[in-house]
């Protein structure tokens, strides 16, 4: 008897297949875990792929110290639940120099995330890192392979990517090279939400609307997750207004714009996403600095 697999079943099978290939063919894999919804799905898929074993690799959180408190909470909880080792890496230099999103602009992302990631991978000697990027997120991602090779200096050469045929992945690398693997490349934002909904996957509560303290900055609404710290860095206490807000994407709290919303359940969140007219990365400042080819340029420099 035949049955047609649904699109989510096919995507799930593909992602699990990718993860098993990486584990079988690399020496020291790691899963980059950013605590967002994509990471949540990726972690769930990893648990499915290797069940009843725990996923045979650690979770790595490249921390900027500026994430939402709720994210840190869920991160620790999920690591415990999955039985995986959690590694948290913070770029010491960025810490020493007090790099922050207000005074240092793009340098904040560069030092904490781009440099932090490179340093973490070098520090632990990981040769393969899972990332939760999706091809529908951004134009240069659409052309990235599932197995994406980085030079010893973590650079990406878009014109020199290995062809990927069928479901055959070439994971062989030369000394010094490392691989970033994107097991959920072919998922869209809607797929992610539907999968979370179907499988009851725990996500950070910030994705759901609630009354939260907010302030406006350069025309966008932000959440005042740590008012004292904001005041210290901004030099003055921002004007706080309570609003019903939620987040479509999660990053550093001073860099992640909120949307006003009444969606308090997953179906409502999905409903809002479907009826909305702006793309999910719109709330992120990162794609805008550097103009048109911003993400492509960042990736060439080693950003995930």
């Amino acid at each position: 008897m035949t049955r047609i697999l649904t699109h989510l079943e096919r995507l799930e099978a593909e992602s699990i297949h990718i993860m098993r290939e990486v584990v079988a063919e690399s020496e020291r894999p790691v899963m980059l875990y950013s605590v967002g919804k994509d990471s949540a799905v990726m972690l769930h898929l990893a648990r499915k792929a290797f069940y009843p074993s725990p996923p045979p690799f650690p979770l790595l959180h490249v921390d900027t110290t500026w994430k939402f408190q709720d994210m840190y909470k869920l991160r620790d909880q999920m690591a415990k639940e999955s039985g995986m080792e959690l590694l948290v890496y913070q770029n010491q230099e960025a810490k020493d120099r007090g790099i922050n999103p207000f005074d240092h602009g793009p340098l904040h992302t560069d030092m904490w995330k781009t440099e932090g990631l490179k340093m973490a991978l070098d520090h632990y000697g990981f040769d393969a890192a899972f990332g939760g990027a999706r091809r529908d997120e951004e134009k240069s991602r659409a052309k990235e392979r599932i197995f994406s090779f980085r030079t010893a200096t973590h650079g990406w050469d878009p014109k020199n990517q290995r062809p990927e045929l069928w479901n055959l992945y070439n994971a062989r690398k030369t000394k010094g090279e490392s691989i970033r693997i994107f097991p959920i490349s072919n998922w869209t934002e809607l797929d992610i939400w539907q999968y979370i909904h179907l499988n009851d996957i725990p996500i950070v509560p910030l994705y759901f609307s609630a009354k939260r303290p907010t302030y406006e900055y350069q025309g966008q609404i932000f959440m005042a997750d740590d008012i004292e710290r904001l005041e210290r860095v901004m030099g003055k206490r921002p004007e706080i207004t309570e609003r019903s807000i939620r987040f479509r994407t999660l990053g550093c709290f001073p860099l992640t714009g909120a949307v006003e919303s009444n969606a308090t359940t997953l179906p409502e969140v999905i409903q809002e996403m479907l009826l909305t007219t702006t793309s999910e990365r719109q709330g992120r400042v990162i794609d805008k600095d550097g103009g048109d080819a911003s993400m492509e340029k960042k990736k060439q420099e080693g950003y995930f």
């Binding site: 035949t2 049955r3 047609i4 697999l5 649904t6 699109h7 989510l8 096919r10 799930e12 099978a13 593909e14 699990i16 297949h17 098993r20 290939e21 079988a24 648990r47 499915k48 290797f50 069940y51 009843p52 074993s53 725990p54 091809r135 529908d136 134009k139 240069s140 659409a142 052309k143 878009p158 014109k159 290995r162 062809p163 990927e164 045929l165 069928w166 479901n167 055959l168 070439n170 062989r172 690398k173 030369t174 090279e177 490349s185 072919n186 869209t188 539907q194 179906p267 999905i270 409903q271 009826l275 909305t276 007219t277 702006t278 793309s279 719109q282 048109d292 080819a293 492509e296 340029k297």
Partner: protein, 638 residues
């Protein structure tokens, strides 16, 4: 953007009953397709249009698009949809697409993954890459230009890689005033090509305009003469491949052995074909060991059945050896195991194929060392001509034999993409240098390694100033094979050609003295002679063989061992009554009396050649005349 345009997202249902909406969308299927076309055929515009019409473009993207369109677009003040998909900065500067890009959209019925493949010649590898996972290919044709060389190339490549459905999208209909005759002429043209090239896939043609939106998601008023479906309807309703895969025999290439503790041992992988249930008898390849499936384990509980396309972990009743690279198969219908194959290879690297060099070959979850022989020929993808070649350059497609250092589990590509498709990896640079498709095993796996040598058959033959060949004489006992072969050899010798005659009776005194005359022994006799003849042609010789060789299959087996054109089947056509009357060795008499068993023509069949290269009739010709006739037909000898 007008909200009325967004016909593929039922906003009303989303707004009114999100749970009902989610319920329908959880049951969507997935179709993967590729779009191919040359530069300027409007491929990016079409994809941009599909995304736009299925409302996958958000306002902020649209704003950026409008700004970009005015700045760098090619459509004046109009929206340039192509800018939506031309992702890399380098491409936007050059106005072309340089790499495969994947796009996503969904309608009520399906989710779609589109591989956008660039059309220029140097990117054949990208198209093959995109097509390898596709269920369907859209070939875009500019209505003003019709079917061009690139269209043929794309159709051929889609066919080669086994894409089941082809859509000929005749684009830019607006620029030819929706001319029906012109459209029909283009379709006829393509149909003729498809027939000629032997492309048998389902093919549909649709007149469209990506720019104006004709017949993309709604039937166009500009083409009242067109009665078919819109492009989107076609994509939504075309039959999916993955159900076919479930009807084939069960295959599970093992990726990873799951062993969390001493009490659990499971085998994880993606089911490539068929289905499996607890209680099924399975066989592990290549070892051939059998066991029974006890359970199919997942995080959400055990499954009653799993089908092709699912990633699972299965457990066995017995402690059977099984590791990564093995294939778990249904016990009574396992796949083959071999180490030598005929293949089609697409070369994907700037550094050409090095014949005889050892590459990594990855097939399913198996990774072995492999050497590629000199290609038998390459295919000119524009004309479909077969060309002689010593190697494979970037984007070349060639037919070549491959030998692996140990036997691998495989199936012909036409039966299974997962067990018939492979990639070749350079051992030094680790780049994926080629991709290929296995067609069949050349010989029974014997664990014999192929030694690449510097002086090959071509060097040997050049020195002898001749083209090596096997002149394979076949016919009844007493038909005159040995006599005529002898006459032919004498003449070749006088012409300064290097020859060797393998005679049936003589070979049975030495090489084959262990063989009798049963059917199996006769087959083995011919196989050995074929191998010897092949070695001799490798040495540059013209080999003459005189064997009854009564079975077509064995003669064809020997033919398949040789490069094309080197096997010359010569049918010594003598009727049974004539041969029996001659009875030079008195064998017919013995056979008739029952003293000799399995005698060809008496109590064992002779299958006459259906289409021999040369036929000689010994009733009408003497042995000398027959020899002259053969020599004439063999010319030129170089």
């Amino acid at each position: 953007m007008s909200e009325a345009d967004t016909i593929y997202k039922t906003d009303a249902l989303i707004a009114e009953d999100i749970d009902a909406y989610l319920e329908t969308h959880q049951h969507k299927s997935l179709l993967r397709f590729i779009t191919c076309g040359s530069v300027d055929d409007g491929k990016s515009t079409l994809i941009g249009r599909l995304l736009y019409d299925s409302k996958m473009i958000f306002e902020d993207q649209l704003e950026a698009l409008q700004a970009d369109s005015k700045r760098v677009g090619t459509q004046g003040q109009e929206i340039d949809f192509a800018l939506l998909v031309d992702g890399l900065a380098a491409e936007r500067e050059q106005g072309i697409t340089i790499d495969v890009a994947y796009r996503f959209f969904a309608t009520e019925k399906r989710k779609f993954i589109v591989a956008d493949c660039p059309g220029h010649e140097q990117y054949t590898r990208n198209m093959v890459t995109g097509a390898s996972t596709a269920d369907l290919a859209i070939l875009l044709v500019d209505a003003r230009k019709g079917v061009i060389v690139q269209t043929r190339r794309h159709a051929y490549l889609a066919h080669l890689i086994g894409v089941k459905n082809i859509v000929l999208a005749v684009n830019k209909m607006d620029l030819i005033d929706y001319d029906q005759d012109r459209y029909n002429a283009i379709c006829d043209d393509f149909r003729a090509f498809v027939r000629e090239a032997g492309i048998s896939e389902n093919f549909t043609s649709i007149p469209i305009s990506g720019l104006a939106g004709d017949n993309i998601t709604s039937r166009s008023a500009n083409t009242p003469w067109y009665g078919g479906t819109t492009l989107m309807e076609h994509l939504e309703t075309v039959e999916l491949n993955n159900t076919d895969e479930q009807n084939k025999a069960f295959r599970l290439p093992v990726q990873w052995v799951n062993r969390p503790n001493l009490d659990f041992r499971g085998f994880s992988g993606l089911i490539s074909t068929g289905s499996v249930k607890p209680g099924d008898a399975i066989r592990v390849l290549p070892s051939g060991k059998t066991s029974t499936v006890t359970k199919i384990v997942t995080l959400e509980g055990e499954l009653e059945e799993a089908v092709a396309g699912q990633s699972v972990t299965v457990c066995f009743a017995d402690e059977v050896d099984c590791s990564r690279g093995n294939v778990i198969a249904t016990a009574d219908n396992p796949p083959e195991v071999s180490d030598q194959f005929e293949t089609t290879i697409v070369w994907m690297d700037d550094d050409p194929l090095h014949v005889g060099r050892s590459y990594w070959l990855k097939l399913g979850t198996q990774m072995v060392s492999a050497t590629v022989q000199q290609p038998k020929y390459t295919v000119n993808v524009n004309t479909m001509e077969h060309l002689a070649a010593k190697t494979l350059e970037l984007n070349a497609i060639g037919i070549a034999e491959i030998a692996t250092d140990k036997p691998i589990v495989f199936e012909p590509y036409t039966k299974s993409r997962a067990l018939g498709g492979f990639i070749l990896i350079d051992k030094i640079t680790n780049r994926t240098v080629g991709a290929g498709m296995l067609h069949f095993s050349l010989r029974r796996a014997q664990n014999v390694h192929w030694q690449a040598t510097d002086i090959g058959r071509e060097e040997h033959a050049n020195l002898k100033n001749q083209k090596p060949r096997v002149l394979w004489f076949t016919g009844l006992s007493g038909s005159g094979k040995s006599t005529i072969a002898n006459e032919v050899e004498k003449r070749l010798n006088l012409m300064n050609r290097h020859t060797f005659l393998l005679d049936g009776d003589n070979v049975r005194h030495g090489l084959n003295k262990d063989l009798g005359f049963t059917e199996a022994d006769r087959i083995e006799n011919i196989r050995r002679v074929g191998e010897v003849a092949k070695l001799m042609t490798d040495a540059g010789l013209i080999v003459l063989t005189a064997f009854i060789s009564p079975f077509r299959a064995e003669r064809d087996m020997v033919r398949a061992m040789m490069p094309e054109g080197e096997f010359v089947e010569i049918f010594v056509d003598t009727p049974l009554e004539v041969a029996e009357e001659r009875d030079v060795k008195g064998l017919y008499k013995k056979a008739r009396s029952g003293a000799l068993k399995n005698f060809t023509g008496i109590d064992s069949p002779y299958e006459a050649p259906l289409n021999p290269e040369i036929r000689v009739n010994t009733v009408e010709m003497t042995a000398a005349e027959a020899a002259e006739h053969i020599i004439r037909l063999l010319m030129p000898l170089k």
